[in-house]
């Protein structure tokens, strides 16, 4: 920390990283300058200027590379923390339980409610079954997810990062394991510094084993989305599953173990591209976690504040907000890339404010606009106003329009499909009775889970007759009934003959069902004939 009285920067410490603050507090000295990056330049910033007698900081990074410092975040309770628990419970619950939900699809398809069937190229989701040619549904959902992220970010900043991102959820889980096994912040820091002995090895080994089990459960649940869960579960442990299943689990276990167990905030700060993009999604009307410096500065301990009434702001420099932060940053330095907007610092500070009898909200969700207004002595507007404004409404509009379009497409799509490709080599030929024959390859798709009887007919082409590879020439007629098995595409080679003298012309194949759910499809094509 940039403690001007200290002989130099702390060991390996970069000024402003604020990771050794508990020490500072124990000394009872609170001399932080709370530098705020220029991004939140506000009238209140003036109060944070360095005292003239302070020597200019001359510390330069001596190293090209910096060792990662373990973040030991402190336990905290509060409304935001409870909300985070809830989100974790719901997201992990969805993740682990979904593959086990059964859905009766008859004997023709797997009875799993949510299944990505790569082998048969089907995507099952409750009552919806998506075929490869309907991939636009998946594309639509991905676009909705993207725009949804814009919507959330423009409204409440990195709320996705703070609550719902898998990296956050698993990091949170792992940090909780740390807390359970090693104890809270100080105990963990102590254990970290302690020399390696049998006790520490045993403790660390046990903790990493639990890390590994969680990582394994993470990778293990993932593969259940790609095959019938109970079968795969049994096969997996009896070593009969596909090698790909083991490889997937191994890779996901390894990544979860390293990213969740060891990389943690490094992923959010250095690896994830989203914090770089999010700045474009946010503006001065977006809610984000903000330290209200005009209210908190200058900082002073309770004791100091008592001695000099009126000289200090509300922040008592207890560093609770820093200690609870899962990414180990100091929110009082202003908005920064390391902040995932999880609001745990709000919970922490609110409790401190309650203890010292000050109003809550020294750190709070606020918009830049409100900050300026408040700093100038005005009142902040209610938070919901930040949610309803043209930008969010446009995102919401686009998002809902795509959603409605997808629902409409889902409601009107047919469960049968006909594609026709005419043979071009040769385009036509004469039969011995002089009639002209063309041949076609038809694909009849039955996307329902029952076998269907379909009527294949031709429209136009005077005197035309069709037969197929299974219907003999002797039974050639204008219409035929064909069976298409459940959940399958049947490829049929169809021959169409028209009487001698027929000219080249367009006509159409039609496919209709008359069962429970009458549907039809039609496909225009061409009939070729000799020129003369």
């Amino acid at each position: 920390m940039s403690n001007p009285d200290a002989p130099g920067p702390g060991p390996g410490g970069k000024p402003g990283d604020g990771r050794d603050w508990s020490v500072v507090v124990e000394d009872g000295i609170a001399k932080t300058n709370a530098p705020v990056s220029s991004a939140v330049a506000s009238p209140g910033a003036a109060t944070r200027r360095h005292e003239p007698h302070e020597p200019p900081r001359t510390h330069l990074p001596e190293k090209l590379y910096e060792k990662r410092k373990q973040v030991h975040n402190k336990r905290i309770d509060g409304p935001f923390r409870r909300f985070k628990w809830l989100v974790m419970l719901v997201t992990l619950g969805i993740y682990y339980l979904t593959p086990w939900i059964r859905w009766d699809r008859g004997p023709y398809a797997p009875d799993q409610a949510v299944l990505v069937d790569l082998a048969n190229r089907r995507f099952f989701m409750f009552g919806i079954e998506i075929w490869p040619h309907e991939f636009y549904f998946v594309a639509g959902l991905l676009i909705m997810a993207g725009i949804g992220l814009f919507l959330v970010t423009s409204a409440v900043g990195r709320a996705w990062c703070g609550y719902a991102c898998p990296q956050t959820v698993w990091t949170d889980l792992y940090q909780h394991i740390d807390r359970l096994i090693d104890g809270d912040r100080n105990a963990r820091a102590r254990l970290d510094k302690a020399p390696w002995g049998p006790a520490k090895i045993a403790r660390r080994g046990f903790k990493w084993l639990i890390y590994l089990l969680i990582a394994f459960a993470t990778g293990g649940a993932w593969i259940l989305y790609f095959a019938d869960a109970p079968t795969l579960f049994r096969d997996f442990f009896t070593l009969q599953a596909d090698p790909i299943a083991y490889a997937t689990v191994a890779i996901l276990t390894a990544t979860t173990f390293t990213l969740g167990g060891f990389m943690r905030e490094q992923v959010c700060i250095y690896m994830c591209p989203w914090p770089r993009i999010q700045t474009a999604m946010m503006d001065e009307h977006s809610l984000m976690v903000t330290y209200k410096d005009w209210r908190g500065e200058p900082r002073g301990s309770v004791k100091k504040a008592q001695k000099n009434p009126g000289r200090y702001g509300d922040c008592i420099d207890c560093t609770e907000c820093v200690q609870v932060c899962p990414t180990g940053i100091d929110i009082r330095e202003g908005p920064q890339i390391g902040c995932i907007t999880c609001a745990l610092c709000i919970d922490a500070c609110d409790r401190v404010m309650k203890d010292i009898g000050r109003p809550r909200g020294l750190i709070d969700y606020a918009t830049l606009e409100d900050c300026e207004r408040e700093a100038a002595g005005g009142h902040a507007r209610p938070a919901w106003k930040a949610l309803l404004r043209p930008r969010t409404l446009v995102y919401l509009g686009v998002w809902s329009a795509i959603g409605l379009a997808l629902l409409f497409a889902l409601g009107t799509r047919t469960r049968l499909d006909l594609t026709v490709s005419p043979d071009r080599n040769p385009p036509f030929m004469l039969l011995s009775d002089g009639s002209v024959r063309n041949s076609y390859t038809l694909k009849l798709r039955n996307m329902t889970q029952t076998p269907r009887t379909m009527e294949l007919a031709i429209e136009g082409l005077e005197g035309g007759r069709i037969w197929t590879d299974t219907i003999p020439l002797t039974e050639a007629a204008r219409r035929h009934t064909l069976e298409v098995p459940a959940d399958e595409t049947r490829t049929v080679r169809a021959y169409v003959a028209a009487p001698a003298g027929t000219r080249q012309q367009d006509f159409a194949f039609t496919l209709t069902t008359s069962d429970r759910q009458p549907e039809a499809d039609r496909s225009e094509t061409r009939f070729d004939a000799p020129e003369d």
């Binding site: 970069k14 000024p15 900081r57 001359t58 330069l60 590379y65 004469l430 039969l431 011995s432 021959y495």
Partner: protein, 303 residues
């Protein structure tokens, strides 16, 4: 380095790059990035040792694992061959008429037949099997068969060929009638042949000439004879053209095509697959019906 500038809030040195007032700070890279970089270097060295990598004068270094893309291909091919082996064996022991009862076998046979056709048959019959009227290669898509169009007949033709030095080949010849008819007789005969398929009006003189000279092979009404390979004349399909000129040329100095027998060059399974493929092109005849239609033909054809 006298004029280093320091960013006041973070105490970090500026690098000196500026874009629209945004300046870059000289923040140290996290150390694990460095380790990641070293790991990639180690990986690369290992890769160079294990796999073919360094280009030498005539070929690259071999690599300790002995892997090569050529070797991998050979391995994949032999695996595919092995997988095909069992299907081929099943095709070999299944009667050709029964192949269609097993959709999987039929599918493999059609695929194999199409591939064999592309290699061995397209030179004459064309890639779409449409033949060539000018050169007298029959169209295999239509329903007119000179030597029979059921599976057994096609298989026989493919195996033994037509007009080949082979004891079992399809043999048939049309005599040359050069000098047999005078101009008018010839014109009448041509007209009569055309009338068989409704292309011209009947001609009594031609009819007589036909009955005397042609009916013995081509049949009284031009229905042809498959045992002799005498083409049907009363249909719309002409192997060498249906114009008066083409017919006249064929009567005076007939051209007769030949087809190699494939029994020495292709194995029986491939021939079987080819047969199924050709039969599937749209004109294949039903095996069951044939004995009723032409019982004699069957007996004569396969002594």
């Amino acid at each position: 380095m006298a004029n280093k500038r320091i960013d006041e809030p973070t105490g970090t040195e500026y690098v000196g790059h500026e874009w629209d007032g945004i300046e870059e700070l000289n923040t140290p890279l996290p150390r694990w990035w460095l380790w990641t970089f070293y790991a990639t270097v180690v990986w690369a060295i290992g890769y160079v040792i294990a796999y073919p990598a360094l280009p030498m004068i005539s070929k690259a270094t071999e690599g300790l694992l002995g892997w090569s893309s050529r070797g991998q291909l050979a391995e994949e091919i032999s695996l595919a061959d092995q997988a095909r082996l069992s299907v081929n064996e099943r095709i070999a022991v299944t009667d050709i008429e029964k192949l269609s009862a097993d959709p999987e076998l039929l599918q493999s046979a059609l695929g194999g037949g199409a591939a064999a056709f592309k290699v061995n048959c397209v030179q004459c019959h064309g890639s779409g099997a449409a033949g060539n009227q000018e050169l007298g290669y029959p169209n295999l898509n239509d329903d007119d068969w000179i030597w029979g169009g059921d599976l057994t007949a096609i298989e026989y033709t493919v195996t033994h060929g037509i007009r080949q030095p082979d004891a079992d080949e399809r043999q048939g010849a049309m005599p040359a009638f050069e000098g047999m008819f005078d101009r008018d007789q010839l014109a009448s005969l041509v007209q009569h042949v055309q009338s068989l398929s409704g292309r011209a009006d009947p001609d009594p003189i031609g009819a007589q000439a036909y009955a005397d000279n042609c009916a013995i092979c081509h049949g009284p009404v031009g229905e042809g004879d498959r045992t002799l390979g005498a083409p049907r004349l009363n249909d719309a399909i002409w192997l060498r053209g249906g114009s008066a000129d083409a017919i006249r040329a064929q009567i005076l100095n007939p051209k007769m095509g030949a087809m190699p027998g494939w029994k020495d060059r292709l194995d029986p399974v491939t021939i079987k697959m080819l047969t199924v493929y050709v039969h599937s092109l749209g004109g294949g005849e039903d095996f069951v019906e044939l004995p009723e239609e032409e019982p004699a033909a069957e007996v004569d054809e396969q002594p």
